[in-house]
Amino acid sequence: MSEHDQYHDPSNVINPEHAEHHVVQPITYIAVFGTLLLGTLITVLAADVDMGVFNPIIALGIASFKAVVVILFFMHVKWQSKLIKMTVGAGFFTFLVLITMTLSDYISRSWGLW
């Protein structure tokens, strides 16, 4: 019973990890909106310039930057608890692991035979 009392913790003292609630203001959203539009413009313009192998790298780089901006600000991850930050990071990390392992299988299948 005493243990149960210990966990009845309305002010959340035993779980100090939780993030302070933060209301994101419209000015932040307007800045993000502008950044995303600018990113789109650069993506379209950069695609018309011949940069060889760097074309897809730049396109993916800008897309990833935009995605991070959306995740941090539109999706409020910047102000979330560590639990949620870790969850989001773990998801993308796991996806990268899957990509890396499948690609290393793919490129080593016919090693030296191309």
């Binding site: 993030a19 419209p26 959203y29 909106f33 789109t40 993506t43 897309a63 935009k66 539109f74 949620i84």
Partner: protein, 253 residues
Amino acid sequence: MDNAIATHPHEHAEHHEHVALPQHRHHFETEQQQREAGSFGMWLFLLTEIMFFGGMFFAYLLYRNWYNPAFVAASNQLNVKEGAINTVILIASGFFMALGVWAAEVRKQKLLVIFLVLTTIFGFAFLGVKADEYHEKYEKHHIPGASFDIREFVNPPIDAKTGQPDQKPMSPDMAQKTQLFFFLYFAMTGMHAFHMILGLGILFWLIWRANRGEFSAGYVAPIENFGLYWHFVDIVWLFLFPLLYLINRHPLK
């Protein structure tokens, strides 16, 4: 029930007034805890979505590597102008969704409804442009299957200004592989559009509830979590647009 109270009189005595707010259900210690649990659950769902779309992106990566000339030629057939306009439309939709979360936070009911309606309008605009693009693919016989036409990939039309073909002709073998590009194009943009259609359905429901004032008295979670979903769908498009539309623009110049 009367009987139960009679046999346990002290239970009745201990009963205190308990107002169950939607933002603080009885099984959560604090509002903050309920909210965080909800966000956590929503993110777990979004992780499964990353894996779902990730599989298709991966198929794209391998086949693009394998049949690069076919992917370049097929990509140049997509309507970059409409794709770019759609990117802007979708970013605008996400922007109003984000403002909607803010309006719910500061308990402005009318603003919340307006922002949700704007989110919906831009969502429909996106689907409208998408439908026009799909129709264009239909007219050009670029839908994979029996009526798919590889002629313009094998014998590209002659550019009137230069007198040269507007892109490098391909062998019929490689030209067939353009179907793979269009298959992935329809699979990926189609799945993306399907997510938007589901989202628009949920938006109607949320607008109806927001209009009744359900989300402007501290209960922000449904708006916030739907926002997470909507922004995730945006992110998928942010990758689809350059990967499908902008593979190799410069040979056109």
